[in-house]
């Protein structure tokens, strides 16, 4: 029953993915700016985000099939709960699909808030002490942030109406009137936006909810959280950033992004070095990569923005892969305590192999896609002439990479230690077809984009970059 539902879900998401692909090719490559009754709006940027969302949610749906059934087998959840999971899963996905398509900033805000509310259930899904705690923190902190963001939204509207009399919250009109707005208000408003949505996007020091939520959520959902959710609120920041840059000079906006990005990188680095929990490790690496993207936006050269957007997708894919593997490992070992896990490559050969690939993908070894985007980011840092940023990036990336390799070296190799509360005879180390597909699907993107970037992607990303540069 549950399994069939899962397969159905996967098929549906596959169709969705095809649609998203079509949409992406049409809008992105064609660089269209669709607008529907002033409420919906789509351009290359949103198309790109839609495609990312579709990709990750499809992979997650694929992986969920076996994951949820295994959870059932291990008696971690009841049948009813499994069905509930699929409901929430789709609501969550729907909310995230909604985000990039909205023109009205107020409703954009609502959509993002909705993602929080829905995913909070998925975070607290297992209803254990830890998961509930994580869910509560997630809920409260994100709500605080999002409320501040709402204040920012209102200030934007205030600025707009007091400057032009237009009584609307549409991004397009805001952008059109950007030149006339009062810079001071916009600056202040953007600070609220940045802190608010930044909290949701996991920028340090507002990132504190992130490792808890990611580590406690159901693994496929963790993948969606760090793969897409963070990017959704980052997307909101970017939208506002365009206006701000247009209104009161790029430097204000880019400086802020740069500072927050570097701060996130540093803090992530610190916490990765001494990390005891597998999924928290991955969560912190998400913070690191978000920081990278922010730095890329902060550098604000075409190359950097291109790299940042590319990195957005690459990170989503690689991180999803890693979370899937982490989920498998957690099921097999009954824990995600790094100290208790070793010898994955022996215990779960396929997962181990994929995980190995994923680690190197995450660190940005060639020929994985992240190598390319990190290359763009770092090189643009050097080309823009801020050597110190470049040097800092290189140093932090090297240290983080080293730490990750160290941790995963211990996890992947050595004598298999299958310890843990679920009775192991009920867990089957054999990979189901769904997992194979999910791994293959993600690895295809990881390696494919590492080797070459198709022209369509190139065009659409360039279009998105020009949007971000307000051209």
């Amino acid at each position: 029953m549950v399994k069939r539902l899962g397969i159905l879900n996967a098929v549906a998401h596959f169709i969705l993915w095809l649609l998203a692909l079509y949409f992406f090719v049409k809008v992105g490559a064609g660089n269209l700016k669709l607008s529907f009754c002033g409420f919906f709006y789509a351009d290359a940027l949103s198309a790109f985000l839609i495609f990312t969302t579709a990709t990750i949610s499809f992979a997650a749906a694929l992986f969920s099939i076996s994951f949820i059934t295994t959870d059932l087998v291990l008696r971690k959840i009841s049948e009813r709960k499994a069905l509930f999971y699929y409901l929430l899963f789709n609501l969550f996905a729907a909310a995230m699909f909604f985000v990039p398509l909205i023109n009205n900033l107020g409703c954009l805000w609502v959509a993002i808030e909705l993602t929080t509310l829905i995913s909070s259930f998925l975070v607290g899904f297992y209803n254990t002490r830890h998961s509930v705690e994580a869910a509560w923190k997630y809920l409260i902190i994100c709500s605080v942030g999002i409320t501040l963001a709402l204040f920012g939204v209102i200030l934007f509207t205030f600025a707009l109406s007091s400057a032009t009399g237009i009584k609307s919250l549409n991004w397009t009109e805001l952008l059109a009137a950007a030149k006339m707005l009062d810079p001071t208000i916009i600056r202040v408003a953007f600070i609220f936006i940045l802190v608010g949505f930044g909290t949701k996007a996991g920028l340090a020091p507002m990132h504190t909810w992130l490792p808890d939520a990611h580590s406690q959520a159901v693994s496929p959902v963790s993948a969606m959280l760090s793969g897409v959710l963070l990017k959704c609120s980052l997307y909101a920041i970017l939208r506002y950033g365009v206006v701000v840059a247009d209104c009161c000079g790029a430097s204000f906006y880019t400086n802020l992004m740069l500072v927050f990005g570097l701060l996130s990188l540093t803090i992530a680095c610190v916490f990765i070095i001494t990390q005891r929990d597998l999924k928290r490790l991955l969560a912190y690496s998400s913070i690191e990569h978000l920081g990278l993207i922010a730095v890329g936006v902060g550098l604000n050269s075409p190359l950097a923005l291109f790299g940042a957007l590319l990195h957005l997708f690459n990170h989503a894919v690689s991180k999803a892969l890693m979370f899937f593997c982490a989920g498998r490992v957690a099921q097999a070992y009954g824990t995600h305590d790094l100290g208790k896990i070793s010898g994955v490559s022996r215990a779960l050969p396929v997962t181990g192999l994929v995980m190995l690939a994923g680690v190197f993908a995450l660190i940005g070894f060639p020929p994985c896609s992240i190598f390319i985007s990190e290359f763009y980011l770092v090189s643009s840092a050097f080309l823009c002439g801020n050597y110190w940023v470049g040097a800092l990036l290189l140093g932090l990336l090297a240290v983080i990479g080293g730490a990750l390799l160290y941790h995963f070296g211990k996890v992947l190799f050595g004598k298999p230690t299958i310890v843990g509360n679920p009775p192991q005879q009920e867990f089957s180390p054999a990979e189901s077809g769904g997992n194979w597909l999910a791994y293959g699907f993600l690895l295809f993107f990881i390696l494919g984009l590492g080797i070459f970037i198709p022209a369509i992607l190139q065009q659409s990303l360039n279009a998105a970059v020009s949007i971000l540069r307000g051209e």
């Binding site: 802020l256 916490f271 070095i273 010898g343 090189s379 990336l397 070296g409």
Partner: protein, 608 residues
């Protein structure tokens, strides 16, 4: 926004690249032959297949590395090479030591690569392209300060891979963990690619602009030589010993390179060429005899199941061929005439001495000291390999494994034979090899040193510095003949087997033999200021009164690891532990962060 790769200039085949291609082929082909026998009945089929494929990919990556003409592609292949070798070190993936060694290895090289990347990007900013010629052109217009930085970055980046002291600590732990032919590939070839990078980027792209570069390299080389050989002397694990010895030999090679940098900077082109040739000569030599020695170590391991010299001995009777090949390799690496190590060390000494005559004042003194260091190193290396061969292969077996040792299969022996032939050949054919290397050095140093004489390797036509390994061999042969003549003419040549003289002790067995630790004791004591040896003595009592046995251990302190790396890591770790307190789980604190961030930004809004 393509990857800025110009496909026309993607591949360059200049003499330097070809030379390294040759080196790689010379070692990797025998290695592949060797692996056939070595892996027999070791792994499951899938694992075997995987290992072989990775090995092939590894070799391929090294081959590509030395022929690409685009710095970015170079970097990519460099990373790939690291990755593959990391996997190969992990072949024995259940062994804790292997895992930690592999982690150390990849973490260090990863950090080293960051420096390379920085350097390449800095050049790229000026050049606007990753093609080596363009980069070289751009480097000429850079400010001296920037060039110095670039040099430092290159030195650190490549030095980490080359295992220069103090960046060497990954090497002796990682190389022995891999299967023996992989060890020989890593020790023999992979770390040489770092030198390739050094020559390619510092000589040909960056261009040597200040004297202190060469001096630094020379200094590091001297340090590496001594440290490497001293640690090698202390080791009683055969493969670890060889690995440390690699550090030493990298030092010897770097001596040549550093000298060449100094001479280039002083405008002494021909000397620079000589020094570079010496370096390259030792490079190929080391590739070959280190490969050979690791092969032999591998067959010892396969035959006896252990690499601990204290448990070996007497193998020369059980595995005569391996012993013979090891002897050849050991003689080569101890620079004994007329084998190849002798030629290259002699050349390096020549470079030193001819340099002394040309360079100004104090630098000359420095070079003399360098020569002293080299001589000392070769002396110690000889001691080291007397120990390695004597303890492992001679006298009586010290353990179970050594008693039931079996000779290696034919494929392994054949591979060893090929390299042993290389050791002899490179020694005897000094002049042709020298001329080839002169061809390699010519585009780098601008002058070509060709030796006209067919046998005698004399630098100036009628100089008093000359060697002719072939003649030396003849003379030695003559000496042997005369010795034989004396032996059989004067002596009656009759002999019988008897017991080893035992000073009246009633029986002598393997427990009376000198052990590896005992052999290295004088060195341990006289270098104690550096090795900081310490001992543990423990009495095993079976009753309160009676001590049944003593356990007596001697260890040396690895000062670089203990006082440099461990300290640094420790402080880093502690620092992060302190920092982690900011996230102690209190939700109120977390909300406070948001609030404070907001307020601070609001107050600072005018600044941004």
């Amino acid at each position: 926004m393509n990857l800025l790769i110009n496909f026309k200039s993607l591949v360059v085949l200049d003499p330097l690249g070809l030379f390294f291609l040759a080196v790689i082929f010379l070692v990797s082909l025998p290695a592949l032959i060797y692996s056939l026998g070595y892996f027999k009945g070791k792994f499951t089929r899938t694992k075997l297949l995987a290992t072989q494929l990775i090995t092939l990919a590894f070799v391929a990556s090294m081959l590509l590395l030395v022929i690409v003409g685009n710095a970015l592609v170079f970097l990519i292949i460099w990373e790939l090479m690291t990755l593959l070798s990391y996997l190969l070190v992990l072949t024995d993936d259940e062994n804790e030591a292997a895992i930690s060694a592999a982690s150390t290895y990849i973490v260090m090289t990863h950090c080293g690569t960051a420096f390379l990347t920085a350097a390449l990007f800095l050049i790229y900013r000026q050049a606007g392209s990753f093609d080596l010629p363009a980069m070289a052109a751009a480097c000429q217009t850079m400010s001296p300060l920037l060039r110095n930085w670039l040099f430092v970055f290159f030195l650190v980046g490549f030095g980490t891979k080359a295992g220069i002291v103090p960046l060497h600590i990954w090497l002796p732990s990682a190389h022995p963990q891999a299967p023996s032919h992989i060890s020989s590939l890593m020790s023999g070839v992979m770390i040489k690619t770092a030198l390739y990078g050094l020559i390619r980027f510092v000589f040909m792209v960056l261009g040597i602009s200040s004297l202190w570069w060469g001096m630094t390299v020379l200094f590091l080389a001297v340090i590496s030589c001594l440290v490497g050989v001293i640690y090698a002397l202390m080791e009683s694990d055969l493969k670890k010993l060889l690995a440390y010895c690699s550090v030493e030999n990298m030092g010897v090679i770097l001596m040549g390179i550093g000298l060449s940098m100094i001479f280039t900077c002083l405008g002494l082109a021909s000397l620079a060429a000589l020094a570079l040739i010496a370096g390259l000569y030792h490079l190929i030599n080391h590739a070959i005899f280190k490969g050979l020695l690791f092969f032999c170590a591998g067959s010892v391991q396969k035959g006896t199941g252990t690499l601990d010299m204290e448990k070996l001995g007497g193998l020369i009777k059980k595995m005569p061929w391996t012993a013979a090949f090891f002897l050849v390799g050991a003689m080569g690496i101890s620079a004994l005439p007329p084998l190849n190590g002798f030629v290259s060390e002699w050349l390096t000494l020549q470079a030193f001495f001819s340099g002394v005559l040309k360079v100004p004042g104090l630098l000359a003194l420095g070079l003399v000291l360098g020569a002293v260091a080299l001589a000392l190193t070769s002396g110690l290396a000889a001691a080291c390999f007397v120990k390695a061969f004597g303890i492992t292969f001679l006298a009586l077996p010290r353990g179970q494994g050594a008693e039931q040792a079996k000779e290696a299969p034919a494929s392994m022996l054949f591979a060893m034979f090929l390299l042993a032939a290389g050791v002899v050949g490179l020694g005897l054919l000094a002049v042709p090899v020298f001329n080839l290397l002169a061809g390699v050095a010519q585009p780098i140093c601008g002058t070509s040193l060709q030796v006209a004489d067919l046998f005698s390797l004399s630098l100036q036509p009628n100089s008093r510095f000359a060697i002719a390994p072939l003649f030396i061999l003849l003379v030695l042969g003559g000496g042997l003949l005369s010795a034989a003549a004396a032996y059989y003419v004067f002596g009656r040549g009759k002999f019988r087997l008897g017991r080893t003289w035992d000073c009246g002790y009633y029986k002598i067995d393997s427990r009376n033999e000198y052990t590896a630790t005992a052999f290295s004791k004088p060195f341990r004591i006289s270098f104690s200021f550096f090795l900081l040896p310490f001992r543990k003595t423990e009495r095993r009592k079976d009753s309160f009164y009676h001590v049944s046995s003593f356990v007596h251990e001697t260890h040396t302190t690895k000062i670089f690891k203990k006082y440099l790396y461990d300290k640094a890591l420790d402080s880093l770790y502690r620092g992060t532990k302190v920092f982690k307190r900011i996230q102690a789980g209190s939700i109120h604190l977390y909300i406070a962060y948001v609030l404070v961030t907001l307020v601070v930004l609001l107050l600072l809004v005018r600044i941004f």
